[in-house]
């Protein structure tokens, strides 16, 4: 039973990270209908920035909490800047191009960013400092759930609540919903669509950066390739829940994270990625709109 609970909780941690990345996919897809292939790379860049900043600060002898705060802040700032720039360079000029063009451009951007980090930094795995402290009060439960798992879960829930509030109740959120429903109409009522798309990319990238810092600190090592697999899995989660839908992204991440955790725990860990991909293929075949997504009817 303990093993089951352990797998369940580690599945939840996994799900939280997937959810943080999947939100970026789902928001961008909802608004411009594009699979942002480079999103996984944004997450990787967030983790790398965090590693660099935290190491530099640690060498200069900053106190622990200052390091954590500044690291998270730096990761968010630079990830958002990358997300925004990628949109401006690779997607904005292709707004009215055929569907295939922005997709190919996104794949190109993903390959470019991966190799950029590989060349500018290193191809080796780098050890990532533990930014999440071990809490005293967690000690009695340490055999089931670690402090970092708890922090990841709580952060994800907070982010989820904040994001829902932002989208439901703020002017920006309203504008985002309007843009995703009908871009032309949104322009007519005076919404700066380009600005809203930029903001969407920034929010998505910031979430990915938070995910990147959390998971890197949890696992303890990163390299330039972590974004690719994480990105595809988060995308799977987004599709599973119904791409374009924010609650769907959470549900999808939850299912994917738990499935992976139990499958690796009870079946075999060699095929961890195969489970995720097979789940993706099956979902797309049997329910292309996802669990919570609306199936769209194409009109002429």
């Amino acid at each position: 039973m303990d093993y089951f609970i352990e797998l369940f909780l580690s599945g939840l941690t996994r799900s939280s990270i997937y959810a943080l990345i999947a939100l970026g996919y789902t928001m961008v897809y909802g608004i411009i209908g594009l699979i942002n292939f480079a999103h996984g790379e944004i997450y990787m860049i967030g983790a790398f920035t965090a590693l660099i900043v935290s190491t530099v600060l640690a060498i200069y002898g900053f106190p622990f909490f200052a390091i954590v705060a500044l690291t998270v802040l730096a990761a968010i700032i630079w990830s958002s800047a990358y997300g925004y720039t990628v949109e401006k360079i690779a997607y904005k000029p292709l707004r009215n191009a055929p569907r295939l063009s922005p997709l190919i451009s996104a794949i190109g951007m993903s390959i470019f960013l991966q190799n950029y980090v590989l060349l500018a930094q290193t191809s080796d795995f780098l050890p990532f400092p533990a930014l999440i402290p071990e809490f005293q009060f967690m000690e009695p439960y340490a055999h089931i759930i670690g402090s970092s798992d708890l922090v990841i879960l709580l952060t994800t829930i907070t982010v989820m609540v904040l994001l829902t509030l932002l989208i439901k109740y703020t002017k920006t959120g309203q504008a985002m919903r309007a843009t995703s429903q009908d871009k032309k109409m949104a322009m007519l009522v005076g919404i700066n669509v380009d600005k809203i798309i930029g903001i969407t990319f920034i929010i998505g990238s910031a979430l990915a950066a938070i995910g990147g810092v959390l998971i890197a600190s949890h696992i303890g090592q990163i390299n330039f390739y972590i974004g690719f697999i994480a990105g595809i899995k988060a995308f799977t989660a987004a599709v599973l829940g119904g791409i374009g839908s924010i609650p769907g992204a959470f549900l999808g991440s939850l299912i994917l994270g738990l499935t992976e955790s139990f499958a690796t725990g009870y079946v075999s860990s060699d095929y961890e990625d195969v489970f995720a991909f097979s789940l993706l293929v099956l979902i797309l075949i049997f329910r292309p709109a996802g669990l919570l997504g609306k199936s769209s009817i194409e009109k002429v």
């Binding site: 190919i104 060349l119 500018a120 930094q121 690719f228 595809i232 599709v239």
Partner: protein
């Protein structure tokens, strides 16, 4: 007119801002390099200025390019050019076409005699990518289905030869059709359920499929010997004659030339056939296509399966050429390279794809110093081609029928 050619003050100011932004953007990753174990920081300030300068000039060039394109497209509409542009004349008019073809043909036929075995080997690789590019071109360029797992079919071909040869001792010529058929079968198996999906979902599913195949090959040790791969695969045979290594490589080279020619011939015939026209139509507008009575699923499936067939064939040749296969040869990056060939060359254009393959495979081989930057450049090529020249180096020329007003007759005209 003058403001189209001259760089304005405004542009320089904007360029400086762009440079500053990129210097900020790349600051942590380009400038700082840390060693978390030894607690060492390396500051690389020179990179910051490199990035700044490079982004400044790239911005100015892109502005000039965009402006030129704008004015030239306006010019085009004003006065329609009566003469075909040079690059198209080279392909379509026989007085240029035939001598050029003869020259190229002679060069390629005499290649193994003119150059060393090493060069021939590189050329074989390039030719393999030509065929792979042409195969993927059917799927992506002609039918408009973005397949990111193309390398999976290549792997199926390579492993079918590797396994059949080591376990059952089957020869190259027996396995060549078997490998092609198996790849086609996989193409149909995958294509049947997923071709109902919209374009971008299809891309992800094929990507997932490619990874599944690679992961299975990597982990199923009893079947594929895992990451260590299969070695000592027989080279292609020629009526049982024993050949030296050099002769075997030359032989493989000519084999590849034959395959390239056959592929070009078949693909070219296919494009102008009924099914080829259906593919083009499907790429342009699915709904209109269905309204015209084209069976969407069947047409897509044909494209998918045919593309896979070529990948399977090249896979068999790859296994025979290197005499060794392992899963590391079939990563997503390989799919990305083949996609890059198609996009760079021009989607749907046969000459373009051949040119794209030769450029992308041969250039990195001869510019060894820059080989680290290969994938970086591939990524950049995909983005820049999509933004600045989506039709590729040589855009596809399609046969169109137009009514000539003066003669009142139907004439066949080649049009972009």
């Amino acid at each position: 007119m003058s403001d189209t050619q001259v760089i304005l003050y405004r542009d320089v100011k904007k360029g400086l801002l762009v440079a500053l932004w990129f210097m900020f953007l790349t600051f942590p990753i380009m400038v700082i390099k840390v060693n978390p174990i030894d607690k060492i920081i390396i500051w690389r300030w020179q990179n910051m200025f490199l990035v700044g300068g490079a982004s400044f000039f790239l911005y100015l060039f892109s502005q000039i390019f965009l402006r030129k394109r704008k004015t030239s497209s306006q010019g085009d509409q004003a006065a329609k050019p009566s003469r075909l542009p040079f690059q198209q004349a080279l392909i379509t008019e026989s007085k240029f076409f035939i001598p050029a073809l003869c020259l190229f043909g002679l060069f390629w036929l005499s290649f193994p005699w003119l150059f060393s075995t090493y060069q021939t080997n590189i050329m074989i690789t390039a030719l393999m990518y030509v065929v792979l590019g042409l195969g993927l071109n059917i799927v992506v360029g002609v039918a408009g289905l973005l397949d990111l797992g193309y390398v999976a079919f290549y792997a199926v071909g390579a492993y079918s030869y590797a396994l059949l040869n080591t376990h059952f001792g089957l020869g190259f010529w027996t396995v060549l059709p078997i490998g092609a058929l198996l790849a086609m079968l996989f193409g149909i198996l995958l294509g049947f359920p997923v071709l109902r999906l919209r374009g971008d979902y299809l891309a992800i599913v094929t990507l997932g499929f490619g990874e599944i195949i690679r992961l299975i090959l990597e982990n199923w040790n009893e079947f594929s010997q895992g990451p260590s791969g299969i070695s000592n695969i027989a080279r292609p045979g020629f009526f049982g004659i024993d050949m030296s290594l050099d002769a075997a490589i030359s032989y493989t080279y000519y084999l590849m030339i034959c395959l390239v020619l056959a592929t070009i011939f078949i693909v070219n015939r296919l494009q102008n056939s009924r099914i080829g026209r259906a593919w083009f139509a499907l790429r342009e507008d699915e709904i209109a296509c269905q309204a015209m009575g084209i069976d969407k699923t069947k047409t897509k499936l044909t494209a998918f399966a045919l593309g896979a067939t070529w990948a399977g064939m090249v896979g068999v040749i790859f296994a025979a050429k290197t005499t060794f296969v392992n899963p590391a040869s079939f990563t997503f990056l390989e799919s990305a390279i083949i996609l890059c060939i198609v996009v760079l060359g021009g989607m749907g254009s046969i000459v373009g794809v051949i040119l794209g393959a030769l450029i992308l495979i041969l250039l990195p081989e001869y510019l060894r110093a820059f080989s680290d930057y290969r994938m970086l450049v591939f990524g950049a090529v995909l983005v820049t081609m999509m933004v600045f020249r989506p039709q590729g180096i040589i855009s596809n020329i399609r046969r169109t029928y137009a009514i000539d007003e003066d003669l009142g007759q139907n004439t066949v005209r080649q049009k972009e």
